[in-house]
Each structure stands twice: as structure tokens, then as C-alpha cells.
């Protein structure tokens, strides 16, 4: 292993600028003659717009333009990137206007944009706009929404159902297996709505150059090319060669910056209209009501077992909240990223899942760290621990008994996906050992003697990462391919620039990708520059989400590197006067097999650009190669998490006394970064389990609209984690990597809730919805009725 190559815990080169405040974010970008945009958003959840009077606003000092939905009549709506077809046909896909037309559908729905010489003038003018809205009853609760009745969110969906989807087939076999089962464990649970809260709020700057007729959009995006395609082709009708989209440093995304948002199209279109750059940066309170939210499922599930404790069938019925409009990938999250994971790590022979996607008068819901897989894992792993408690068997052993065995790979699940490899028992054993699982009952007894309640929870998750084979997702409704692209440009003196379609917004790609290049070319990582985020610089890439960057983007880089190495072989063969077949590349040098003749990589690079002695009739000069890689399968990271909690029964206060994570991410390029990714994921998963949860009241007002009321996890809310990895290399990408970005957020919520239910079992608690607040725990201990979420 090279000192800074694959496997080395290299410190992140990005951190110097981030920690010094030297990063360049969208809001740091300033353009000559720029204007400022303030957006007037709906303060009611549902209503008919009777009139919008902008006359007073237009006369306010500094105002350049006041825009309403009418101004955007000639452009498209915000598009959806995935078509799910339910049993009644294609999903309902109502138009999502840039600014509200005729109706507002959620608190935060943009109505008017005011562009002015300063932000304060824009805000002052926005306050002078008079919008007359006839308020309608809000559609908030999914269970009542689908009964129809009141005014639906969209006229196109009278029962508010976007699609009603069965998977993988009909339910008859599963129903029969459940009817015949020795034991059936049932659960009703809510996967609580989360608000992403990336550290950097969304921002966008639009510009138009009248001389070149070129538009520029600077935006906080995880995937600039996707935005260029969606906005250019489907919203504004700008050809790609006249539209540059770039995302400079981006301060976190967690999914919420995948999507094409109305504000991006708004500032780009307005820049031409007013003839000046237009900038907009969300304030935090705006982020709460305009960034796509995550999760928000209501599920009933049943798991059937035979007399030996083997799973015989699983049935899930889920209501998935879409919010008021379809965000870019919203329909695929509760379907193809959720139901396809319902086999988990188990040999479950029969699975049936029904998903009803529901429109409500709430902020749109889309992928958030884990995206569908946390929801699936939560169902499965709550069922497993609940079943173990009901059947009086150990929760770890029930899992072990049902694991897919290493000898069974590749394993075709009943839910379409085929796992390539894994060793689930290895992760389980590692986690049990780290958690001192055997010693738990003694610790429980000691805590009890102290008046405290202890519990332990196990969760064994699997996820599908590295999205995804284009032909597969195309057949499932994706309106895009999901390959990745990379260009490797070797400079004449042997340094290397890699233009990747992946996008780093906290992941550390500039470090890890450079390690891969250094390792493959045998050069120092410091000689490698990673370029990303600009459609004018990098090849058409699909961006970063779904823990895909290394598995898909990294493979594109490796493939491009292999092309570079192969071309170098031809040059080396010429220089060394040997047959190409006799040239080997190792340790950063081309060598003639069986001799001491060699040329370094740098010498070959220089020759490629100074082709004096060169086979010019056989090879082009230069050393630059591009690869597009379309993955052969998803990757399947898996692992086991164990959480141990202690509860103070008088107050319901909870402490996580131990949290262990044993993950199989395949091969690892930078173990320090992987550990950091796991820590971050665990913090968000524990945040979901204990702290976070968006609450809407019956009128559709977001009651958790600021940090005064929405609890983000902080450092002292999480324990010191014990993490470890086991390795079964992915079989279908050259690095053998699987992805690590989301696992922590996927496996941890059920581990925490399982631990709480274990601690409270003597108080008759079988389930507790997230977030498990001290008051919920206190009420459960005291056998008091649970409060409704909005109380």
C-alpha cells in the first residue's frame, strides 16, 4: 500500500479551507451589478389565490422587478425524475409551478419573488405585496387524506393518492403463509418526518450574458449536470451548450440538494428578464419550509414464522407522504429504494408490499440520508426484535438463524434485487463481542439495583448503494441513466487532474479519489487534483447520492486510469523498444518483463506531450482519457448495530451507554473518512430515534419550524461510538467497494428503539414511535396514554 494510497487513513485535504473559513460557497460568490431576490411564501397550507396586488411593492425603493406565477406561464413546471406505475396506472403527476398559480399547497409555497438592489429592500417590498387567499381545509394526516372528502391537494387526485403500488406481485401467497404461520408478529409504526438541515442553506445565483447568450446558475447542488438537464430541457428550454451550472463548495446535502428546486429556475430566468445577476440565499426558517423533507411513512407490517423461528413471509402496507408536489426523486423512495430491501439479511421466501403515495398540504418529501432503506430497515428490525420478545428467544439468535449464508451468494431475493456477496454473521459476531452482549443481563441487574432501567437493542441492516444499472432503473421508471463519468488528464510533468461527475459536499472526495489515483498510478496523492461540480469542466455526471460516489464514480475513475495506463504501455513499448505485451506497469513505472529496463510514469507523460520520439502513426499525442461507467448491480453494504440504553424511570431521561457498529462496506480506501461517515450517519439516525420529528398541526402549520422547536442532534446527544468493519469485497466493481455514507442513519434507529422497548418490556411496552422523547418514555413507564404527536 502506498503511503497515501488505498487503505491509508489520510487526513482530508479539504479541511484546511473548511476549518479556516476559506471555503467558497454559493453565497460567497459575488457578481458585478448583482441583484437580490426575496421570496414571499404562503403562510397558509391550502388555499385559493383570489388576487395578488404587487403595485405597492413595485413602487418601493430599490425594487427592480416583482414576479408572480403569471410571469412563468411560458415555462415548464418543476419536473419529477421518476415515473412509478401503480396498479391503477401511472402516478398522478400534477404540475409544480415555479411560483404558485391559482392555489397554494403548503406553508412555504413560493408566491411572489421580489428582486431589488439590496436584500433588505427586497424584503421590505415583499412585505408590501398583498395576497388575498381563500383558505381551504388542509390535508395533513395521510390516513384521513386517502378517504377523500374535502378539497384534495390536487384536482387530478381526488383521493389524494399519487399511486397505489403492489410489489413484487399480488399478496395471495403471502396472505396464505401468514394464515398458516406458527407465529405472526404485527406492528404499526410511523417513520417520523425529518427536516434535513444541511449546515449551508440552499442558495442560487442566476446570470445571463447577453453577448454570448449564455446562462450561468451557481447553486448548492449535489449534481450540477442533473440540474442542467432538468432545468435546461424541462423548465426553461435552454440548450445545454448555453447553460453552465456549477456548485462550488457545498455545505452538506444529505439528499436535500439533489433535487431541482423552483428557486434555481427562478433566478436563472429572472437574470435574463432583468438583465442582471439575481441571487437568492435561503434563511434558515425558509429552509425549514422549502427544502424537501425526508421519511414520513405510516406502516402496518406482519412477519410470519414457522415453529423453528424461520421467517416464512413478510407483508407491509405503507402510506408514504409525498407532500404537496412531487420532488425530483420522491416516487422512487418508498417504492424501489424501500420495498426492494424488505428481505433484509434474511432468507425470507415471500414478501409483499403495498405503498400508497399520498399528497398532503406539507413540504414535498424526498430522499434523505438513506432514502427508503432506513424505512425498510426500521420495519424489519423492529419486527425481528419484537418477534424475539414475543417468542421468548434471543433477538440476536433469531437474526442469526435467518441470515442468508455466505455459501448462498449471489442470492436472489424475492424483492427483485440480487445480493452479490456478504457475511452477515461476521458483522453480528463482531458487534456482539464489542457490545459485550453476554454480559448485558448482569449490567441490567446492576442498573435495576440502582433504580434504572437498562435495555439492549440489535439491528442488522442491509442497503442498496451505488445506484444503479441504467437499464434496470429505466425499466422501473427512472427518467435518467445512473452511470458516472470521469476524465483523467495527465499533465506533461506527470501531475494529474481528475474531472469527476461525482460531487463532494462533505464526503472528502478530493482526498479519497486522489488516493485511488495515487495508488493506481504510483504517484503521490499530492500530485493529483480532483475537479468536480462544474458542467463546464467535468464530463456529464449524475452526481452524489445513495452512497454511490466511490462505487460508481470511483469505478469511472479507475476505468479512465486503466485507459491511461494502457496508452502509456504503447508509448513505453516504443521507447523501450519492446513488445507491448512484455510491458508491465507497477510501482509507478513501465517495465520490460525480465529486464531492468524501465520508464517512469512521468517520463511517459512528458513523451506523450513532447512526442519527438513517438509512434505518431499509431497513437495520438497527449495523455487524457474519459470513462463512463454504468454499474452492473447495486452494492449491498450490511452490518449489525447494537445499542444499550439506561433510563431514569422518574423522568424518562435516557442515556445511550453504549453504541457499537460493525459494518461491511467492502474494501475501504480511507478508513478515517469511513469512520467519520459512520459517526455522522449514527448521529442522524440517533437524532431520528430520539430527537427529531417534524410536527404539523391540523391546519398545516409547521410547529417545528426553527431550532427553537426542531431538535437537531448535537455532540452531547450522542455517545462515543465503537465502530469496526468486516470485509467482503463487492464482486462487480474493480475497487471491491460498496459505499458507507448512509449506513449509520439506516441501522441505528431500530437499534435505539429496540433497546428502549427491551428496557421497558417489564412495563408492558412493545413499541414506541420515534422520536422516543423522555415524556413518551415516562408515560410508558407510568402506563399513561400516549399523547398525539401534535399535542
Amino acid at each position: 500500500m502506498a503511503q497515501d494510497g488505498i487503505g491509508a487513513p489520510v487526513k482530508r485535504r479539504e479541511d484546511f479551507r473548511f476549518l479556516k473559513g476559506l471555503g467558497k460557497y454559493t453565497d460567497d460568490m459575488n457578481m458585478p451589478n448583482q441583484t437580490y431576490c426575496a421570496i414571499l411564501r404562503s403562510s397558509v397550507a391550502h388555499g385559493l389565490i383570489k388576487s395578488i396586488d404587487t403595485s405597492a411593492a413595485e413602487k418601493m425603493p430599490g425594487v427592480v422587478a416583482v414576479l408572480t406565477g403569471k410571469d412563468f406561464e411560458g415555462v415548464g413546471g418543476v419536473p419529477c425524475g421518476w415515473l412509478v406505475t401503480g396498479k391503477d396506472g401511472p402516478m398522478k403527476e400534477p404540475k409544480h409551478p415555479i411560483l404558485a398559480v391559482g392555489k397554494v399547497r403548503h406553508v412555504g409555497d413560493p408566491i411572489v419573488a421580489v428582486i431589488a438592489e439590496s436584500l433588505n429592500e427586497a424584503k421590505n417590498a415583499a412585505e408590501q405585496v398583498v395576497v388575498d387567499i381563500d383558505e381551504l381545509p388542509a390535508v395533513v394526516d395521510m390516513r384521513s387524506a386517502i378517504k377523500g372528502g374535502g378539497t384534495p391537494v390536487h384536482d387530478e387526485a381526488g383521493d389524494n393518492i399519487c399511486f397505489d403500488w403492489d410489489f413484487p406481485g399480488e399478496s395471495a401467497d403471502v396472505d396464505a403463509a401468514i394464515a398458516a404461520a406458527h407465529h405472526v408478529t404485527k406492528i404499526d409504526l410511523v417513520n417520523n418526518r425529518l427536516i434535513p438541515n444541511a449546515m449551508e442553506p440552499r442558495a442560487a445565483i442566476g446570470a445571463y450574458d447577453i453577448a454570448s447568450e449564455e446562462y450561468t446558475l451557481v447553486t448548492t447542488s449535489q449534481n450540477p449536470h442533473v440540474i442542467r438537464l432538468l432545468m435546461g430541457a424541462f423548465v426553461l428550454g435552454i440548450p445545454e451548450h448555453k447553460l453552465r451550472v456549477y456548485a462550488p463548495d457545498v455545505g452538506g446535502g444529505f439528499g436535500s440538494k439533489i433535487y431541482h428546486y423552483a428557486e434555481e429556475a427562478l433566478v436563472t430566468w429572472a437574470a435574463k428578464k432583468v438583465g442582471r445577476p439575481v441571487r437568492w440565499t435561503a434563511e434558515r426558517s425558509e429552509s425549514f419550509v422549502s427544502d424537501a423533507h425526508g421519511r414520513d411513512h405510516v406502516t402496518h407490517a406482519e412477519m410470519a414464522f414457522d415453529k423453528d423461528g424461520h421467517i416464512t413471509a413478510l407483508k407491509c402496507q405503507t402510506l408514504a407522504n409525498m407532500g404537496a408536489y412531487l420532488s425530483t426523486f420522491a416516487p422512487c423512495i418508498p417504492t424501489y429504494l424501500h420495498a426492494t430491501l424488505l428481505a433484509g439479511q434474511y432468507r425470507t421466501p415471500l414478501v409483499f408490499c403495498n405503498v400508497k403515495a399520498v399528497f398532503t398540504n406539507t413540504v414535498p418529501v424526498d430522499a434523505y440520508r438513506g432514502a427508503g432503506r432506513p424505512e425498510a430497515t426500521y420495519i424489519l428490525e423492529r419486527l425481528m426484535s419484537k418477534a424475539a420478545a414475543e417468542m421468548g428467544v434471543d433477538q440476536a439468535e433469531l437474526r442469526r438463524k435467518n441470515f442468508i449464508q455466505p455459501s448462498q451468494f449471489p442470492y436472489q431475493t424475492p424483492v427483485a434485487v440480487m445480493y452479490d456477496t456478504g457475511d452477515y454473521e461476521a458483522s453480528l459476531n463482531k458487534a456482539l463481542e464489542m457490545a459485550d452482549y453476554k454480559g448485558f443481563e448482569a449490567r441490567r441487574a446492576a442498573a435495576k439495583a440502582n433504580g434504572k432501567l437498562r435495555g439492549i437493542g440489535v439491528a442488522s441492516y442491509i442497503e442498496a448503494c451505488g445506484i444503479a444499472p441504467s437499464s434496470l432503473v429505466g425499466a422501473l421508471g427512472a427518467r435518467a441513466g445512473l452511470y458516472e463519468a470521469a476524465t483523467v488528464r495527465v499533465n506533461p510533468t506527470g501531475s494529474v487532474a481528475v474531472m469527476t461527475g461525482s460531487h463532494s459536499h462533505g464526503q472528502g472526495h478530493e482526498t479519497t479519489f486522489a488516493q485511488v489515483v495515487a495508488d493506481k498510478l504510483g504517484i503521490p496523492a499530492s500530485s493529483v487534483e480532483i475537479v468536480h461540480g462544474d458542467t463546464n469542466k467535468v464530463p456529464f455526471g449524475m452526481g452524489t447520492y445513495g452512497s454511490r460516489s466511490l462505487a460508481v464514480g470511483g469505478t469511472a475513475i479507475v476505468n479512465a486510469l486503466n485507459k491511461v495506463i494502457d496508452k502509456g504501455k504503447k508509448i513505453a513499448a516504443h521507447l523501450l523498444e519492446a513488445a507491448e505485451a512484455d510491458i508491465v506497469f507497477e510501482g509507478g513505472a513501465y517495465k520490460v518483463k525480465g529486464t531492468d529496463k524501465q520508464k517512469t510514469f512521468g517520463e511517459i507523460a512528458l513523451t506523450a506531450y513532447v512526442p519527438h520520439k513517438y509512434p505518431i502513426d499509431q497513437i495520438e499525442p497527449g495523455l487524457e482519457e474519459t470513462a463512463f461507467y454504468d454499474p452492473k448491480n447495486f452494492t449491498y453494504p450490511a452490518g449489525t448495530y447494537i445499542c444499550e440504553v439506561e433510563i431514569e424511570p422518574k423522568t424518562g431521561e435516557l442515556q445511550i451507554v453504549k453504541f457499537v457498529a460493525a459494518d461491511d462496506f467492502g474494501n475501504i480506501v480511507n478508513p478515517m473518512i469511513v469512520e467519520g461517515q459512520v459517526h455522522g450517519g449514527l448521529a442522524q439516525g440517533i437524532g431520528q430515534a430520539l430527537l427529531e420529528g417534524a410536527v404539523y398541526d391540523e391546519s398545516g402549520q409547521l410547529r417545528t419550524g426553527s431550532y427553537m422547536d426542531y431538535t437537531m442532534p448535537r455532540a452531547d446527544d450522542v455517545p462515543s461510538f465503537q465502530v469496526a468493519t468486516t470485509v467482503t469485497p463487492c464482486t462487480h466493481n474493480p475497487l471491491g467497494v460498496k459505499g458507507c455514507g448512509e449506513a449509520g442513519a439506516i441501522g441505528s434507529p431500530p437499534a435505539v428503539i429496540n433497546a428502549i422497548c427491551d428496557a421497558l418490556k417489564e412495563h408492558g411496552v412493545q413499541h414506541m414511535d420515534m422520536p422516543a422523547t423522555p415524556e413518551k418514555i415516562w408515560r410508558a413507564v407510568n402506563r399513561m396514554p400516549a399523547l398525539k404527536a401534535a399535542e
Binding site: 422518574k650 423522568t651 430527537l691 417545528t704 422523547t773 423522555p774 401534535a790 399535542e791
Partner: protein, 263 residues
């Protein structure tokens, strides 16, 4: 933020004279500035007390501690005099907000704002403190009049807070997990005039004295007696973060901890 005029008076009298119309006093600004930034208030004029050195500092008498209104939380938390005489108050100040808040926020600002979830009101009320203004002295029992309201007149400025040194005192709170204000905080003080117990975060009308706990502890500070005291939920807040029932239970549990920690 809306435009406003800004004055920085050189004396307390000048500050009082500047308090006309829609003027607001600015002390540490930890509530006021976020409110302005969110355009939730438009005071027209801010009268900054930051230039008045006489409003800052801690003074120790044999029987009382005096704290200038513009003394920051961190100065109270780290004061040797406070730690020696009312350690529970130093602990309370050290637990307000985060380091940024503690380095800017002031005791006078907290008391003037009288947020129902603030920590200081519990201490001042339990200790039987005196609020000294530019016009008069107000006892803590008369000072706190409701949610975000006090006995202060429109041009009245808090100058200092006088706190009788108790025999023993303790403070315990549970934080509201999002804001980290006190969801419930209980300050217990054994004073020359008997045991006083004040509760913040829980009362529908703001900080209040718990007669039930004071009765239970009238024979002396006893943690188990505090914990066993049933506090009624009537008159307590019910909101997104806790029901009145739960707040009532927390008052007993936290009183137990406050007593156990009293020093």
C-alpha cells in the same frame, strides 16, 4: 432587520431619557437581536447599555451579593464571590445557553425579558432577590408579573440585582431539547426567612413559587421529601415539548435533585 436609530448613552439618566416612543434597551441582545433579524420587532430606536461600566460587576457584602444588570452569564458563572456564597447561582449561570450566549447575555437582560423558560427568574425568586432600578427597588415576589411581563415601567432600567446569601441553595433543570431553554427548572433556597422554591419553564404564567414543595421542605431540606411531593398540574404549561402532567412530575423530580445538590 428593519432600520432603527442607535444610541449609546453615557449615563443611566441619559439612557432613561432616550427611552421614548418605540425605543428598546439593548443589553446582551441574545433575545432582541434574533427577534430583530427575523423582523419580528421594529423598535425604531435601540438604546445600548453596553457603554455603562457602572452596570457591570459583582459586589459581595456580608449578607448579600450585588450583581450589575449588564454582568454577563459567564462573569456570574466564574465569579469567586458567587461560587463562595451561592454556588447554585454560579452553576445556573454556567448552564444558560451556550458559550456564545453566556459571553454576551446579561442577568438584567434576562430578568427584563422574563422569558418563561429562562433560568435566572427561578434563582431570583427563590433567593428572595431585589431588583434595583433607576427609580426604585422591587422585590422578586412583586417583580415577575407574567409571561414576558414584569413590574418595570416603560422608562425604568434595571441597574442591579441584590441577592441575600442563603444558607444553602440548589438548582436543577431539564432542558427543552431543541432550544435548550429550561423545560422545567427548580431552584431551592434555604434562606433566613425559610425555604423558598421557585419553578421556571413550567408555569402558564411564568416563574412561580411552589407552595407544595415549600410546605414539604419547611422542616428542612430533604431530597426524598421533595421527590415525594405531588405537584398539581393545574396552572402548568402544555405545549409541543411537554404536557402539564409531565411538567408536574418533573418539578418533583428536579426539586429532589436540586435539594440533593444544595450547597
Amino acid at each position: 432587520m428593519y432600520d432603527f436609530t442607535y444610541v449609546r448613552p453615557a449615563s443611566i439618566d441619559d439612557a432613561a431619557k432616550a427611552l421614548t416612543g418605540e425605543a428598546k434597551l439593548l443589553a446582551g441582545g441574545q433575545t432582541l437581536l434574533p427577534t430583530l433579524k427575523q423582523r419580528l420587532a421594529s423598535p425604531g430606536k435601540l438604546v445600548d447599555l453596553g457603554g455603562l461600566a457602572e452596570l457591570r460587576g459583582i459586589h459581595r457584602d456580608p449578607k448579600a451579593i450585588g450583581i450589575g444588570a449588564c454582568t454577563t452569564h459567564v462573569d456570574v458563572a466564574t465569579s469567586a464571590d458567587v461560587k463562595a456564597t451561592i454556588p447554585a447561582l454560579a452553576k445556573l449561570a454556567a448552564g444558560i445557553g451556550d458559550p456564545q450566549v453566556r459571553n454576551r447575555g446579561t442577568i438584567g437582560g434576562s430578568l427584563a425579558n422574563n422569558d418563561p423558560n429562562a433560568d435566572y427568574p427561578a434563582a431570583i425568586l427563590a433567593l428572595g432577590g431585589i431588583v434595583h432600578t433607576n427609580k426604585r427597588q422591587i422585590t422578586a415576589d412583586d417583580y415577575f408579573t407574567g409571561l414576558f411581563t414584569t413590574a418595570l415601567g416603560p422608562d425604568e432600567i434595571i441597574v442591579a440585582i441584590g441577592l441575600p446569601i442563603p444558607k444553602r441553595a440548589g438548582y436543577a433543570k431539564m432542558e427543552q431539547r431543541a432550544s435548550r431553554y429550561a423545560l422545567v427548572g427548580v431552584f431551592v433556597a434555604e434562606t433566613e426567612k425559610g425555604v423558598r422554591v421557585a419553578v421556571t419553564g413550567a408555569g402558564a404564567g411564568g416563574v412561580f413559587r411552589s407552595r407544595e414543595l415549600e410546605a414539604a421542605l419547611s422542616g428542612g431540606l430533604n431530597a426524598a421529601a421533595a421527590g415525594a411531593t405531588k405537584v398539581p398540574s393545574t396552572g402548568l404549561m402544555s405545549d409541543l415539548h411537554a404536557s402539564a402532567d409531565y411538567r408536574a412530575a418533573l418539578i418533583s423530580a428536579l426539586a429532589e435533585r436540586a435539594v440533593a445538590s444544595a450547597a
